[in-house]
Structure formats: C-alpha cells, structure tokens
Symmetry: C2
Subunit: 266 residues, 2 copies
C-alpha cells in the first residue's frame, strides 16, 4: 500500500498560518477531515512558520487535529525538543519527520529516538548540503539506516527521503532521484520512502503534470510513499492507476472501484 502523508497542515501555507494565528479550530478540522476522506494515510503537521511560536502552535494543532480525525500524524519539525513534546501528546504511533546527517540534528535526534515508539523519516542531507549523485544518496541513506538500527529502530520503521531537486537547475535531477530510489529499495527492501515530490518542478510552469508523472516513474522503481496534497484528485488517481499498472491490484478491483466512485477519470 502506498503511504500518503497529507501535506496541507503546514503553517507556511497562508490559510494555515492565519488559522493557527487566530486559533481557527474549524478551518483546521475541516481540512484534516477532507484529507482523511480523500485517502490520506498520515496527516503531516508543520508549525514552523510563526517564528518563536512553533512549540505552542504545534501543541495546539495536534490537539485540534486529533479531536477531528483518527489518522496517525507525521510530526514535522527540525527541532528535537518540539518533536519530543509532540510525541508526548499523540494518541497513535507517529512518523517523526526527520533525522538527517547534519551535525546539529543527528546527535540530538538519535538520543531522542532511542527507545521511542515511532517511525522516522531519514532525510539524505548532511552538512555539505544536498546530495549530488545517486551514489551519495545511497551512502547517506545507508549511514542513517545503520545508525537508526543501532538504537533499535528496524528498517520497516524508516522512511528514506532521497531529497528531490529541481529539473530547472539540472535536467539530470529526475534520473538521479529515480536511481537513488532504485538503489536504496533494492539494497534495503524493508525500508519505506517518502519525498517532497513537487521539488522536481520548482521554477517550471504547469507544475502538477510534472509532479504526478514523476510520481509514477518513482513508484516503478520502489517509491512507496510521498508527502502530497490528497485533495489533488489527479495525483491521487495516478497513485491508484500506477499501483494497478505495477500489478499490485488483484483483478484491477481497486482501480475499477475508484472509477465507479468517480475518483479516476480518463
């Protein structure tokens, strides 16, 4: 099953920023109910935009969201203190987003994750910056996976983020991401993936067709999850259609049911 981490509750989005600032519970709850309805597996919660308020905003969002939906949450912050506080109030096992090889984040995150009951996103970033080759993504993913295993987090609880980069700056970034996912998924078959798909189309027009076509290409080499907007019907249709094309839909029943429900149109 493909993991859909609903990306909408991010205070860098203007509507969410306002809703958080004004404690507009209805706005947030309506939004997450729609994400759940549309098929999200997790709700990502990012409260980073109001500088100096991340802790209180995150706490408020978690309470409000958990009152509205049953879904588990993806706790999205670079700050281990905020993640630790968030972990204390979530009802269901969350995904912690994220650990990376950046010195400031790696050590505190490792000590926080030791013994914690959660899944974790392993971001293939280190202090030298973004990866420049599939080999480097593979190497960074490997170091993160091994470090996490050493503190007891099994591969099946790790979501590798290969860090998708824009085609507009380097036309080979699409192939690089595909090779990265291919290598990691073959070498670590139990590991999961997530990615911020829309980075691929940064700086280009009509971005959504690039994003969703790229999603199909990544799924073919092993991508089994992404952070995306579950209210985007076309990208959700591509997820189901690609699952069917890749042979993961016995008798095409899921595809046929989604067509009947009006969720997939040609």
């Amino acid at each position: 099953m493909f993991t859909i981490i609903g990306e909408r509750i991010n205070s860098s989005r203007k509507e969410v920023y306002e809703a958080v600032k004004n404690q507009d519970k209805n706005y947030i709850q309506n939004d997450v109910r729609k994400q759940q309805e549309a098929g999200a597996t997790y709700i990502d919660v990012n409260a980073g935009a109001r500088i100096g308020h991340e802790m209180e905003d995150m706490m408020w969002l978690l309470e409000v969201i958990q009152d509205a939906v049953e879904l588990p949450l993806c706790l999205d912050s670079p700050d281990p203190k905020i993640l630790e506080a968030a972990m204390g109030i979530v009802d269901k096992t969350p995904i912690v987003n994220s650990i990376s090889l950046e010195k400031e984040r790696f050590d505190p995150m490792l000590s926080f994750l030791q013994g914690a009951d959660c899944d974790v996103v392993a971001l293939c970033m280190d202090d030298s910056g973004m990866p420049i080759s599939a080999g480097q993504v593979f190497d960074r993913a490997g170091r993160l996976i091994e470090s996490l295993e050493q503190i007891g987090i099994k591969q099946g609880h790790i979501y590798v983020d290969p860090l998708i980069q824009p085609l507009s700056t380097d036309i080979t970034k699409g192939i690089m991401a595909m090779e990265s996912v291919d290598k990691v998924s073959k070498h670590y078959p139990d590991v999961h993936f997530t990615c911020g798909l829309s980075n691929i189309s940064y700086g280009l027009p009509q971005r959504k067709i690039l994003n969703r076509t790229f999603l199909a290409l990544l799924m073919a080499v092993g991508l089994d999850g992404a952070i995306l907007d579950p209210l985007d019907e076309k990208i959700m249709a591509i997820v189901s259609t690609t699952e069917t094309l890749l042979g993961r839909d016995e008798y095409c029943l899921n595809y046929i049911n989604k067509v009947r429900a009006g969720e997939i149109t040609a």
Copy 2:
C-alpha cells in the same frame, strides 16, 4: 526523440472504413494533416478491414495520404504481397509493419525484406501465440533481430513490438511488458521500439489514464516509440513531460515551449 506512429488511418475505425469505401479523399487528407500538425513522426496505414479489398484500399490510401502530408508512412499489413506493392509507391523510406516468428509470415517477409530500403517492426509473436514472460519476449526479439541482421537490416532500423497484453486478464502483464522493454533495450541499445499501448487497458473503464501512465513507465525503461493517436492531447503531453523528467530536454526548453503553445496543461 520519441517516435509517434499516428494510428488513426485504420479501416477498422468506422469513420475510416466509410471514407475508404466512399473514396472520401477529404476526410483522409484532413485527418492526416491534423496528425502531422499534432506531431506525428509517421502515419500508420492499415487497410485490412474491407475483406477482399485490402490491396486496392491500401493503394488508394497511400496516394491520397502522400498528396496531403510530407510524413513517412508505416505500412501496416500481415500480407507480404500488399507490403511489397505498397513499398513500390511510397516516396519516403517507410516502416514495414510487420515481421513476426509465425511461420506463414516469417519466411515470406524475410525474402521480401532482403535488400529493401525500409525500417521494420519486429512483432514478438510466434505460432504458439502471445509471449508469456519477459524472457520469452527477449528471446523472440533476439531471434527476429538476428534474422534481420543476417539479411542486412541493421539494429537501428528495427522497431521491436513487445506485444502489450491486458491487465484485465492478468495483473502482471504491465510489469512483464516493462521488464521486456528493459531487457531488450539494455541488450540491443540501437534497436527501437513500438507498441500498441492501449492493449494494456482492454476491458477496463476510463482507459486513457491507464494508457498514458503506462507510456511514462515504459519510456523510463527504454521505450522510444509507440503507435498512438497524436490528436489525444493528454497522451502527447505525457510524452513531452516524461522526456523532460528523464533528462532528455536541455534547460527544459521543449517542455516550456509546449506549455507556452498550450499543448501541456497541469
């Protein structure tokens, strides 16, 4: 560059059947002009539907089409006699569609192709029927390629058709086709491909989203051509979008130009 063989001039389509029967030159010429305008690389010409009239219908179609467009043609018939006659009246080097390993077709086609100035579709069919595994497609493609090479047709003039089969009868047929293209393209890097894409969705609803998503998946493993309807704007947009995602579009210029021309929309 992706080869688009425009599929519309096929007398099994009702409108074309009528146009051929009534010698409606305008209908055919308008259609092929539109295919050329939309970006077809070749025009496929199939006159098989009016039983007993294939020879005269093919000759009429070729004349009418060549009066209207500059494009080279893909001569589509199982009958070597008709292909030979067609070869005699085409202006530009055509693709001959097709040779297969079926006994009735293989020997006559080989002797016809000896010394002929044309490209050729190698259909991975034999007398036992459709291939049942990627290994079998690879084996059949290899036998056709070697036979064609022995009579002087170089790999760069061969279009392998892996024979796409419906997901509705066997959910693994998508992966099988992808593995087939992957194997053949890796082993014979100069060989080209074509395929009848829409077979993948036979028996399923909302077929076009399956067809075009599958096209992207096949392009990622090496498919560089297909028989399709160039007037289907969404499938043409997927061809360009996928080329860009696969790194074959310097500075994304082709993508950006097609967006500006209104040919790609999100």
